[in-house]
Each structure stands twice: as structure tokens, then as C-alpha cells.
Symmetry: C2
DNA sequence: CTGTTAGCGCGTTCAT
DNA sequence: ATGAACGCGCTAACAG
């Protein structure tokens, strides 16, 4: 069996030069209707598929999309959001002949970002977990081949999602609502916090905030903190399902009834949120879509949307 | 600032030809101690890093690792096992300049596998969800750059894991143990089934098997089936945490007390298993390790282990 | 609009 | 053991 046909064979069959065939097939550069048709036919006849590696070497672009996740936790790469997003990117870039690689970045990621910018195998970078400063000081080498997930980049409309949940809590009679937020170094954590304080002020309700880090363990301890500092709390909102599940554990252990005594809301709608007991009320958003869009944006496609909807899902905890 | 140094510059600085420099740096081919030292020094001085894309084009090997998941479900790519494994591979192959791409394969995957074998951008393939037949009829083009996860490849020692859980059920007095197994078309589903029937026979206990598919939804319906067909069942073992969580839901709705009336065991130890109510007893195994090992094996490294431990984690449901 | 000529950066014969 | 030359497959710059 003959090996895969190469561009030169297509060109010969079409009766044109390799350059013309390349121009037609890659869609960049002029070509007459005649040669276009001839090349396309020849390519189809031969079952030609361009060699992504050769193409990208010639073009000087890399062959992989780097998903960089900045976080303090060293186990962040097993976070459900990260695994879902990385997987979605790997599926989304497959048709382009690209692959995805994954790397954790420490909080001071500047040096590592420089190294990434110099890595010629990296076609583009998607960054999650940034703070504002990092986005302002991106290596110039990353211009045009970079996208961020979170505040300032492609983001979940957390204002809408968290806002809807908080309003629901208020509507159903909750008046002492605590928030377990995100880590302070994370840009994407500011919007939910802002939404919360805004709504509480507007409603004349007390502000009760404890920082979190998207883990279940922290959810457990944060819930303890809330109960200790504000024993009359009647609702705990969080910015992460994992955190909310930790909260549920603590409340169960403490004998606090959910939602009777305290209502709880999560954020993300992880696959198992519906399996929690009581089933977790949360907000759902298209993580896979966002990840795929971020990948496309980093690779140069004009992003269709920058803000993705977050819709409340009311189950049993609120 | 000058762009990344290339091989030719290293060679010039070392006073040798590019060919020699290549031989030294890639480690294949002869080289005198003198030139070796000179080349290594020059490379270090210049901070030389080989261009993975150029290297792989010249060598004819691809630039990405394809993780192919064969399954009937079209949403299999959001299965927790898949997302965890894909993510682990993307992190593991990062240092090699490779990326990971992900693709679902239908049950009759032969044609697609041929296409994959012909894709010159694919360095190697990791396959999950195979049946025995598929492994026997692999495209020859995949020889030496292929690894399978599951029976016949790198696998979880499910015999040990499931066996330990079943023995625990027996030890704690359960005598009418049902199993919700895996789908029939999956090679990796046979071992647990075999373990189950063997142990039940040995103990003189009845065989009660319902097929599953690793989803929570199926866990719910399968549990109903079990309760209807064998109302005196006092334990339900599963081969997937997602399924076990579905079982827990059905039992809760039906008013069956866990573990008092019916014990339940899962398999995989997903992050959420500990948060279930009651907390799920299951078996844990190093998914990330397995995935990374499979990636290395596919890329040609001799795998250190083929069977990975599965250790029971007894929480509240059994 | 098209073909020719040079690369992209590295691996690998083949002489020497 | 070493270097010159060529090849991997495609794209970009340049004439025409």
C-alpha cells in the first residue's frame, strides 16, 4: 500500500505547481477558478490530507495548545473545572491537527510565561487563574496567540449566575446570607464578591464573607467559621460546587438542617451536584463550550462570545 | 533580543558540524568524547532547546498523542475517568514537546483506527474502551506506538479491588449480593464479572447480575431492576462510582436504608464519593498514574507496570 | 495569477 | 568519528 499522498503529487495530478496547490488548499493566496477546481479535485481523488507538522514547521507556528493554570494548589490539575476544560480543548483542537498540553503555573508566573512564549512548539496559550496584573504584562511574544479564561477574557457571567441565586435566597426569605468566595489572588473571584456585596447592601442585609479556594476541604472549614462567627446565618452561598459540598458535610455533622435551617448554593453544576443529599442548588454554565471557545480564540479565531450564560439550577438545598 | 538558538549555531560554537551536534544531542550515533563535551557545553551556553516540530518532522514521527475512547455514549468524553485520564496525559506529555488530542470512537472502530494510523501528526495512540477483537486486529501501522488502557493493556487490578469489596460484604454478613456490571461490549468489564461469579459460587451465594454502563442514570434504573427481581437483596456492588451514586438515589427514594437494609459499593473513588450521603464505600486506584504510564508506553517507553493496585476504601455505605 | 527558488530546523545516509 | 549533502512536507518571497 502506498503511503499518504503529498502536496507534490496533488500538484502534478492537477497540472499546477506545488505553490499553487498549497495556496488553494490552505486558502491563503490567490488562485484562478480553474486551478482551484483542478487542485481540489486532485486532492479529493488522492484522498490528500496535509501534513500538519510540516505545515506548521514551515509556517513557524507550533503544534500544540498550552493550557496554563495558575494556582497556589499543586493539585489544581485534578480540579474538575480544569479536567473538563482541558478535555474539551483536546477534543476541540483535534480536527486542526493540534494537541493540548497542560501545565500548572505558580502565582508568580511571569518567568514561566516568558519561557512559554519562547517555546516554538507552542502554537497558542490559554490561561486560567490569572490576576489583572498578569494580563497587563503578557510577554509580547504571546500577542495574537493567547486567550484567558475568567475575568478580562472569556468568562462565565458569574454576576448573573450568582446574582440569580442570591436573589432566589432573598425571595425565599433568607436574610442573613454568608458568602464563601474565591481566593483573593484570583481576578475571576472579584465579580461574585462584588455582586454579593452590592446585592446585600441594596437589600440592607449584613455582609458576611469568608474566602475559599474551590476545594471541599476548605468548604468544610469555612462553614465552621461562618457558624462560629455568625450563628444566626440562614444561607450560605459559595462560588464552587466542591466548596458547597464541604459546607453540606459540615452542616450535616453539626446537625444543621438543609435547607430548613440554612440554605446552600453552589456554582458550576458539577456532574455529581445532583447526587448530593440534599441535591445541590447551583448555577450551571457551559464549561466545555467556554474551553473550546478559548482554544479557538487563542488560535486566532475571532471569539463569537466573551460572556457565557450562567443559569440557576434549583434543586433541594435552596 | 535574538531568537532561539538553532542547532547550526551550537555546532559552530562547538567547532563541529551540525550532523555531529545532532548526533550528540539526540544521543543516537557515534561521537568522540571531545566533540561530545564541546557540543554539550555549547548547547548549555546558548541555552539551546531543540525544536520539537522540526525534529519530529525530520524523524517522521508525529507531534501528538491521541487518546481514543471507544464507547456507545456520545457524551463519553465528559466521563470523569476520561477527563481525569486525558488531563493526566496532557500534563505528562508536556515535557516531551507533545500534545494530547481526544477522540471518541464508535463501537465499530476499525475504519477510524485505520484513518488514525495514517495520520502523520499522530505520534502514538492510547485506546480505552476496547474489546478483545479490536486489539487483535490493530492496524499494523500502529505497532510500537500504541497502548491500551483496560483488559489486555495497562489495567486496574479490578479483580483485587472488586474482590476485596465483595469479601468485605460477605464478611459483614451480606448473603444476597447483586452486581451491576459494565457493558457487555467492553473487555475490561469481564474481569469484575468473573471475580463476582467466582466468589459467589465459592461461597454458595446466588448470582444476581444486571448490566450497567458507568452512568448515574443507569445506576438508578438498574437498582430498580434489582429490587424488583430480587427483593431480598442485601447488598449491591457496582463497577463504577457514578452507578453506585445512582443506586443510592433509588434506594433513598424507595425508603431502603443504606447500609442497614442494603449495602452499596462503588468503584473508582471519584472525588465526590466521599461527599455522598452516606459516604460511598468504593475502591481507589491511581487513574492519573495509569494514564501517564499508558502515554509513556504508547510513546515507546517500556512500561514498568501493567497492573495497578485497587485498594478498598470503606466509608459508610458498606 | 503562476511557477521557481529558498527556506523552516533537524535527522540521516554516505563517503571519507 | 566526522562532515557534506540531501530529505522530511509544506509555505513564503520573488519574479514573471
Amino acid at each position: 500500500m502506498s503511503s499518504s499522498p503529498v502536496l507534490a503529487e496533488v500538484a502534478r495530478l492537477a497540472g499546477v505547481s506545488a505553490a499553487t496547490a498549497s495556496r488553494v488548499l490552505s486558502g491563503r493566496g490567490p488562485a484562478s477558478a480553474d486551478s482551484r477546481a483542478a487542485v481540489l479535485r486532485a486532492a479529493a481523488d488522492l484522498g490528500y490530507v496535509p501534513h500538519p507538522v510540516a505545515s506548521r514547521l514551515a509556517r513557524g507556528t507550533g503544534t500544540r495548545l498550552l493550557f496554563a493554570v495558575r494556582d497556589r494548589r499543586t493539585d489544581i490539575l485534578s480540579d474538575p473545572f480544569v479536567t473538563r476544560a482541558a478535555t474539551a480543548m483536546a477534543a476541540a483542537t483535534d480536527p486542526d491537527g493540534l494537541g493540548v498540553c497542560l501545565r500548572r503555573l505558580p502565582l508568580d508566573a511571569a518567568a514561566e510565561l516568558d519561557r512559554i512564549a519562547a517555546d516554538r512548539s507552542v502554537a497558542a496559550v490559554v490561561l486560567a487563574g490569572h490576576d489583572g496584573d498578569l494580563l497587563d504584562h503578557l510577554p509580547t511574544g504571546l500577542r495574537g496567540r493567547f486567550a484567558a479564561i475568567g475575568a478580562g477574557g472569556l468568562d462565565v457571567d458569574s454576576t448573573a449566575g450568582i446574582g440569580a441565586l442570591l436573589r432566589h435566597l432573598h425571595t425565599t426569605g433568607r436574610r442573613r446570607i454568608a458568602l464563601i468566595g474565591g481566593p483573593p489572588w484570583l481576578a475571576a473571584a472579584r465579580a461574585p464578591l462584588h455582586t454579593y456585596t452590592g446585592l446585600m447592601r441594596e437589600a440592607g442585609l449584613p455582609i458576611r464573607v469568608v474566602p475559599g479556594d474551590f476545594t471541599t476541604a476548605r468548604g468544610r472549614t469555612a462553614a465552621r467559621t461562618v457558624l462560629r462567627r455568625w450563628p444566626d446565618t440562614d444561607a450560605i452561598a459559595t462560588v464552587s460546587d466542591a466548596t458547597a459540598l464541604g459546607v453540606l458535610q459540615t452542616l450535616a455533622e453539626t446537625g444543621v438542617r438543609v435547607p430548613h435551617d440554612v440554605a446552600v448554593t453552589g456554582f458550576d453544576d458539577v456532574p455529581f451536584a445532583a447526587c448530593a443529599v440534599p441535591a445541590l442548588s447551583t448555577a450551571t454554565h457551559p464549561v466545555e463550550l467556554i474551553a473550546a471557545a478559548a482554544a479557538q480564540a487563542a488560535l486566532g479565531a475571532a471569539p463569537r462570545d466573551r460572556l457565557f450564560p450562567s443559569r440557576p439550577v434549583l434543586r433541594a438545598t435552596a
